[in-house]
Symmetry: C2
Subunit: 519 residues, 2 copies
């Protein structure tokens, strides 16, 4: 709790000193406007020119956005930009009905407790009612989104991750999946024979993004604690350029509550992997959407299990740390997202990296025009105007408690309904359980793992349960067969009764396929 | 009016027959679900395989989204997808304060007339209160956005454009600028030496997008009515493959109220250009964000000028037609946007093209995850639940009246304050006035057009007016000097008094540079 509380205090003091902050339409902003001034003993980030692609290096700034710098001239009237007048936006105000701390119980979220109505108007800035309004949010903006929301995410980054180098910064995004494509195009190109290192089972869209661009994916072995550093080292040290082409210079990793395995790197592993990347000059793309979704230990320490809601101190002490938090070289592009902790439909997130990498990232994004103004208006009104930084963290703590309850139901159901060929590790973060089935016990082993997986998957559908096939997540551009049999289950969506029933059905499908009699 | 009214009636009858339409989270949808069944005599679109890039042809469907098809199985419980539970979205309802027809006067939009509060709740579908809700809008969705909003834009496309071939369809976008990059990657690649034909002055971001991808831009001459068909024909017929490389196979055009020239193609020119594209097998990217922003003729027919609000019949009769509306081969990818007619911050628009092109477009978009759910919820609640199709068209008619008033102020001020070296055509659509200065009359002509432009631009800034430099918009990858001197002014943002004062300042800067004495 301690460092977080001190950093929140810092942020609030800086805000108080800075006074009212209400920049107008398409105002320029960067994280340096909001960060704590870096202490002089912090290192500066390395330069990544030799990692960037030709496309990345050639990206120019949008000529029309450069002209926007003149808009700060006092008394200037603009006939320059193609911005519509906010007087013609048919939205005078936007209101949301939301829960407020400390009443973050699930009944409040579901709407049965009293909620608070919060509102952002079209002209709140001019009318002195707020620091952001619809006239600004709903007009064109900068690629990095509004200055108002960039301030909030920069502050949250400082509070939660405290990057240990001087020239870091943030940029808002329209969600992390889109960032993957941008990052791929910044760092890898087919013509150079580039490859990307990934966990051997990982987010399938990350692989699909790379493969669509002609970039080969190289899987690194995992165990219950995620990527195995020794295998990463072995892959890099034993790399045969003659046989395999250019050595990889980019690592893509989902370090916390990983999709699909649910694994979370220990601080020791994270440090070891970072050091290997330093040694081999690997740039790290840290895709960490589940980081803020932390759960209590399993099995529960006390019986009956702890209350559904987690306290803020225990939540904060459960945060396992990040690559960004140990990144003294500025070699990490970290991806954060509001999708898993507020709502995926916000299509809002942010990246954190060195100033050079952020600058290049924004040039790639010139055509995206930043996140939706409705999303920014909604999230700013909730997070900045209503909850505040500590309120947001309290929300996350409560959410972690809710997920703990759901996860415990699924783990309990697996213990009850799955036969002995099934094994799993209890996840401490995220929304996924990775279930291994011992294929060596399967009567039709000779048909191959994919055939068995296919049979069980369709048997599950026929019994009324959808689970995700392990092979969907396998990072292997070489087309080789998987060596083990996995299914991924999530406890994020279904209610407790449905989770138990679904697990029972899955167990029945597994038993039938393996020829295991009901006990 | 007539064809539009009949098509609206068709749409409403189809809706009544279909009954309640309230699909759930991430439901699959396509325009065929909402279109009028095509009559059997309509042609089918051509196939564009030989126009697509390798990347485009290689794009696969997202494996996780393919699994979503099983979600329709009755009684199925999903532990498969990584969708968070809507019970944890901290938004129970979203309300907007909006004007409603027929009270679309500027005072209503500005908030001084009574407005209506419209609301979308989290569980409106389950509670029978609506066909869309926050539980669906704020969760993950399909690339094409929600089925509910796809229905609305498909219907508007049918009502306004009535594509004359059978297998057209729409997909939602996060705004047209992002689409440009996708379209560029679908149709052009550096390795093939591809080039794109464009108006010789055009949207600078379109050029920047192409150049960032290593695609050469080939300008086609324009006059007051837009692209000159004869120059397009001459460019294509005289193309020397030996000297210039591969002949262009893509035309990018902004046909209505063009940015920056304000020009609108006549129906005859549009037809002529389409026929040239048929002959030379050119695929057309029709970027038409100003189409719905139509203004009354200038000078005003009556004195005093007509009332600010336009009638719906006169608005509809002013619509000049589109490439999509004459596209019998399915060779048009049309881009529409809500940015200019509702709010740019919505980051919402849609494309219309043949089923094959839409399919490829969606595969490129797998990583975008579609438009913001807040934007979709807001626009659906306004457009579908409140205004309806005819209400939306009435809003557009009113908006055209408002822009007519502003444009007339700017044109009046130009007549009053600009010296005789300045000439212009009155735009009938969009938000831009393109002002030509006769550089041959300039005392320092020998310095070159760019130097004169630079001098006037900075003199304008010093006098307190921002205008856009013509050279910013020039489509010429060859780096040649422009042959004429232009500035672009917009009447979209500033009020009447500010427009007059800004024009006076611009006129003073021009006079000084040209050495013209005040009259």
């Amino acid at each position: 709790m301690e460092p977080y509380a001190a950093r929140i205090k810092d942020v609030l003091e800086r805000r108080a000193k800075a006074g009212r902050f209400a920049p107008g339409v398409a105002a320029y902003s960067d994280s340096d406007m909001f960060k704590k001034s870096p202490s002089p003993d912090l290192p500066k980030a390395k330069r990544w020119d030799d990692h960037f692609t030709e496309e990345c290096k050639g990206r120019k700034q949008c000529v029309l956005k450069q002209a926007a710098k003149h808009l700060n001239t006092p008394g200037l009237i603009s006939l320059g930009g193609g911005l519509p007048s906010p007087s013609y936006f048919p939205f005078s105000s936007l209101s949301l009905s939301v829960p407020t701390p400390p009443d973050f119980s699930s009944s409040a979220t579901a709407g049965s407790s009293p909620l608070r109505t919060i509102t952002i108007g079209k002209n709140d800035i001019a009318e002195g009612k707020g620091e952001y309004d619809l006239a600004v949010a709903l007009n064109y903006g900068q690629v990095t989104g509004s200055a108002q929301m960039l301030r909030f995410v920069t502050e949250i980054t400082e509070i939660l991750f405290a990057p240990p180098y001087a020239d870091w910064g943030c940029a808002q995004t329209t969600g992390s999946t889109g960032v993957l494509e941008t990052a791929a195009r910044m760092f890898t190109e087919r013509a150079r024979g580039d490859k990307v290192l990934m966990e051997e089972y990982t987010y399938s869209t990350a692989q699909e993004t790379m493969e669509a661009l002609g970039i080969e994916v190289v899987g690194v072995r995992m165990d219950g604690q995620g990527m195995v550093p020794g295998d990463l080292r072995g892959t890099l040290e034993g790399w045969d350029v003659g046989a395999r082409g250019r050595k990889p210079h980019v690592l893509y990793t989902v370090p916390t509550g990983q999709n699909p395995t649910g694994a979370t790197l220990t601080p020791e592993r994270r440090r070891e992997i970072y050091d290997i990347c330093e040694e081999h000059d690997i740039f790290i793309i840290e895709d960490d959407p589940y980081y803020l979704l932390q759960m209590a230990p399993y099995p529960p320490a006390s019986s009956p299990p702890p209350a559904e809601t987690s306290s803020l101190p225990s939540y904060l002490s459960s945060l396992p740390g990040t690559f960004l938090g140990i990144d003294t070289s500025g070699r990490v592009l970290r991806l954060d997202s509001f999708s898993k902790v507020l709502a995926p439909g916000s299509r809002m997130g942010w990246v954190t990296a060195s100033a050079q990498v952020i600058d290049r990232f924004l040039r790639h994004g010139e055509s995206s025009q930043g996140p939706s103004g409705f999303s920014q208006a909604a999230l700013h009104t909730l997070l900045d105007r209503t909850w505040g930084h500590e309120g947001f963290l309290a929300w996350l703590a409560n959410l972690g408690g809710e997920y703990t309850g759901r996860r415990n139901v699924l783990l309990g159901a697996c213990g009850e309904f799955l036969p002995g060929v099934a094994t799993w590790d209890a996840p401490s973060a995220g929304m996924f359980l990775w279930i291994k089935l011992d294929h060596t016990k399967h009567p039709r082993l000779a048909d191959g793992i994919l055939a068995i997986e296919d049979e069980i998957f369709h048997s599950c559908i026929a019994r009324g349960v959808l689970v995700a096939r392990g092979s969907w997540f396998r990072a292997a551009s070489d087309g080789s067969e998987p060596q083990a049999l996995f299914f991924r289950a999530t406890y994020a969506m279904a209610g407790a009764d449905a989770i138990r029933e679904a697990t029972r059905r899955f167990g029945a499908a597994v038993r039938e396929s393996f020829g295991i009699k009901e006990e």
